[in-house]
Symmetry: C2
Subunit: 536 residues, 2 copies
């Protein structure tokens, strides 16, 4: 079995060559008997409503055979048992908002899409210990609303968009921007439906009715939480989410470097501020065009040809976002916030073209009037601005290499991305997520017109070239698009792909029939590995 | 297969009933051909030098068959291949300092002890990104020395004793007291020898020569690091360790509550200080007798009968350590340290019997004169004080329930431990490790005379009763003693022991011959599960 770099799904999966997209009537009847007819869809049109809206119009490479929406964990278990009996793969999604990465579409054509929109309970919010417990249908907005309704003094962690699922985002290694976004410390304690329908609780939750199930990140014995993230070894149907206390003071920050030549120093400065604790959470650094969109909520209108360097510089200068603009925030009591602001200001002033946007510190009773996404997001208030401010036909495909938080390393990746964008005839654009004290994930969001099949194909091709070039430079993608998962995973080749060979052994042990999300993040079950790659 | 609560190893493993402690000469010859005769010991006396010095004198329940000390990772791989061919279990240890939990002894009698004392390279120290990469033979002292020799501006994380292995401590879920001790964020990126001798790198290290292997905690696909902690699924032979920058200012702290009635408020106060970020790292709260030892380096001499409450109160009062004394520290720039000290002082002053020992803030050039372990440890300077200050015959067996960081929950556990100590005729003693922002692990260190078999047996019996009582209260042990692993794990019984059943499936998949550390933390391979529990 070989998954060579050219194993790109776009080229190898001609329609009709992969899994059947029609279920046996007997299997449909069993599914209906478990979840009810209302929640089993098999008509093509109804099923396609759940497919990735960013994929090639009319292309059924990732077409599902059905959409099933269970109403309880017991129903999820029963669906998995049915899938095993019939040998039909199942691909779970929570809200299906994994846009830029393949949406809710299954990695294997013909799989049943298992949607968790109905499992939408906020099971617990523990104010003393500052955590919540949610089901996969709970969105960031739902969690925020639940905290607000109960009048709790807690801050909701949020990503860029409010409509996604808390669990779904976590399972796909998405980001949130508050304290627990960095180093992925948001989750603690899962309930998991295993591929065979069995039910597992991780960590301290393995003790029945444990009071420590969501406060401590370890098991007695091997810890399993992260084995179920970006994984096809189980389905997380319940998760603990760590929350911050709502601080007395909050200051949203925009830090700018006007001159691209200062990128290295800016990155190294952010690292030192992170290590010193003055910056917390995920700090996001955007190139000019991305900053117009993500920091100002005012995207620069598209045009047929890319902007020249001079034009980009003028845009950055006119809008005050420079070559790079950093979205960050400081939380704490007023004195602590002031101290941190002074440290950040001083460090940023050492950068030749560094500028800090005017800072306002908000007190507790001044949080309700934010309107800009850069203020809302770091305040933990979910928003849809990032999608509302873009024209509806604009889609994106994201490439996300994992890079050490060193100016020189980030520079090398940025320059490679710049070359790749130029080859594709696209504007350069990147959002560098500072994912901890030592790492950054520069996200190259390749923009395209989702209504134009040629534009989508070109974007996938550009993504393929970027993942390849970055892989050859030594950087693995953090969250590859469905169409590029095998390609991205192929670079994790240490010792004849020891990582993949090991995870495949786990996969075969816990999912011998290979029914749970085959191919997700490059892990295929035995029955698919036996087939020629082209037949997948 | 059933591992009932009574499956306590002390009672079920009569000498001779478990694994053979003599290896076949052919196997010994193969081991010698790989690692050299000098590094293979099979004579009983030489082997017993590596057994747990705290176990019952003369009892061979956990006796090993040999001690093998490989000199390279390739030799470790080859030893595992030999073990598979001969079907003989192998139990790895790093420095063998897991005292209070079974030392270096194997969980299965007759196993080969694989010692990593010779794998002692500090492979890398990256000052820019503040991490080190170590082999399992590297002790805390070694790491500290390597940083000092290179003149780097980094602080070493340390546990209570300097002689332990960095990797060994991590693998047994030990604690360190600096920023990355809490929530176990110390490690990132492993190299692992699998039970069959294969070699795996986790996280970004799966990409050959990745520069991101120790800066980011995730894989593309399921993350595996924590699957190899407290585990018998692989042997970690290389690990990334996150370090802090050495701060400009440092203040060791001792916070006291004189009245035991204030325990709840003290715990809740620590939680809020942790959530606010004013306290970082693992804060350790000691009862009177433990504080005399761990905070003052001046243990109270033992006597045949336990101290009365009045006597304990007088000791606490005379020595200034009250009913509970907290060892903590603040690191940062001078202004930040001062701010945090004011916040901590104010919060502690709200506790009726709360007192803060006089505080001194140390500047960068004042770190070299510390002599007390409470100052050394939080400054990141390894020490042997905790063992040097105790008489050589005093041993301990540790019980460590995982409890939410709530005053009421910690109180309930403390009272249960108090009852258990009283039943055993022992002094009450606990060190409550604040393992994060939401959890505490109160460690009941049961003290005994290791030269007296009856005293050891009584301690194991007391441990058995504590683990049972705490398990019935809903608290799982974090790090059970070798003799109590099956008992402790038996409480993780959600859904007919779904956790154990799942990990057993992984075990059988990656170690089909069951040769790597069978029984470790309650996970037995298929061939041992098939036998009667009594035969293990």
């Amino acid at each position: 079995m070989s998954l060579a770099h050219e194993g790109d799904r776009l080229e190898t999966s001609a329609p009709g060559s992969a899994g059947d997209t029609t279920l046996e009537p007997g299997m449909v009847a069993e599914l209906v008997s478990v979840v009810g007819a209302e929640w089993v869809r098999t008509e093509r049109e109804a099923v396609d409503e759940f497919k990735d809206p960013y994929w090639i119009p009319g292309d059924d490479t990732f077409a599902a055979s059905a959409v099933v929406q269970p109403g309880s964990v017991a129903q999820v278990q029963e669906v998995m048992r049915i899938a095993n009996r019939w040998g039909v793969p199942v691909s779970p999604h929570s809200q299906g908002r994994n846009l830029g990465h393949g949406g809710a579409s299954p990695s294997r054509r013909g799989a049943i899409q298992l949607g968790f929109q109905r499992l939408d309970r906020v099971i617990e919010i523990n104010e003393d210990l500052a955590y919540a417990v949610v089901e996969p249908g709970v969105t960031w907005q739902d969690l925020h609303d639940a905290i607000a309704e109960r009048g709790l003094d807690l801050m909701t962690p949020v990503p860029d968009l409010s409509w996604g699922s808390v669990i779904g985002n976590t399972m796909d290694s998405g980001h949130t921007y508050q304290r627990y976004g960095a180093d992925y410390r948001l989750h603690a304690g899962f309930e998991v439906v295993l591929p065979d329908g069995d039910l597992l609780r991780t960590g301290q939750g393995a003790l029945p009715d444990s009071a420590s199930g969501h406060v401590y990140r370890r098991s007695l014995g091997p810890s399993l939480d992260e084995l179920f993230v970006q994984s096809n070894l189980g389905i997380v149907v319940r998760m603990g989410v760590w929350l911050q206390r709502r601080p007395d003071a909050y200051a949203p920050l925009v830090l700018v470097v006007d001159d691209d030549a200062d990128l290295e120093q800016a990155i190294d400065t952010i690292r030192e501020l992170r290590l010193a604790g003055h910056l917390e959470g995920i700090v996001a650094m955007y190139s000019t065009l991305r900053a117009a969109h993500m920091v100002l909520d005012d995207p620069v209108p598209a045009r047929p040809t890319p902007f020249t360097d001079e034009e980009l510089q003028r845009i950055g200068s006119e809008r005050g976002i420079g070559s790079w603009a950093v979205r960050a925030a400081v939380w704490g009591d007023r004195e602590l916030v002031d101290l941190r602001l002074r440290r950040i200001q001083a460090a940023w002033d050492d950068i030749p073209s560094g500028r800090v946007h005017p800072v306002r510190v908000y007190a507790r009773d001044e949080w309700d009037d934010f309107t800009r996404s850069a203020e809302l997001i770091t305040a933990g208030i979910p928003t849809m601005k990032a999608i509302e401010s873009m024209p509806a036909h604009v889609a994106h495909l994201d490439v996300s290499p994992v890079v050490p938080l060193l100016g020189s390393a980030v520079r090398a990746v940025v320059e490679e991305l710049r070359r790749q964008y130029a080859v594709a005839g696209l504007n350069f654009g990147a959002g560098i997520m500072v994912t901890g004290e030592r790492s950054a994930v520069p996200i190259a969001g390749i923009r395209y017109d989702r209504t134009d099949p040629a534009s989508v194909r070109a974007a996938v091709e550009t993504g393929r070239r970027m993942v390849t070039a970055l892989g050859e430079m030594g950087y693995l993608d953090a969250r590859p698009h469905l169409a590029l998962m095998d390609l991205a995973a192929s670079f994790a080749s240490f010792n004849d792909h020891a990582y993949r060979r090991f995870v495949e052994r786990l996969k075969d042990a816990v999912d011998p029939n290979g029914v749970l999300a085959p191919g997700r993040h490059g892990i295929w079950p035995a029955r698919d590995r036996a087939a020629e790659p082209d037949d997948r």
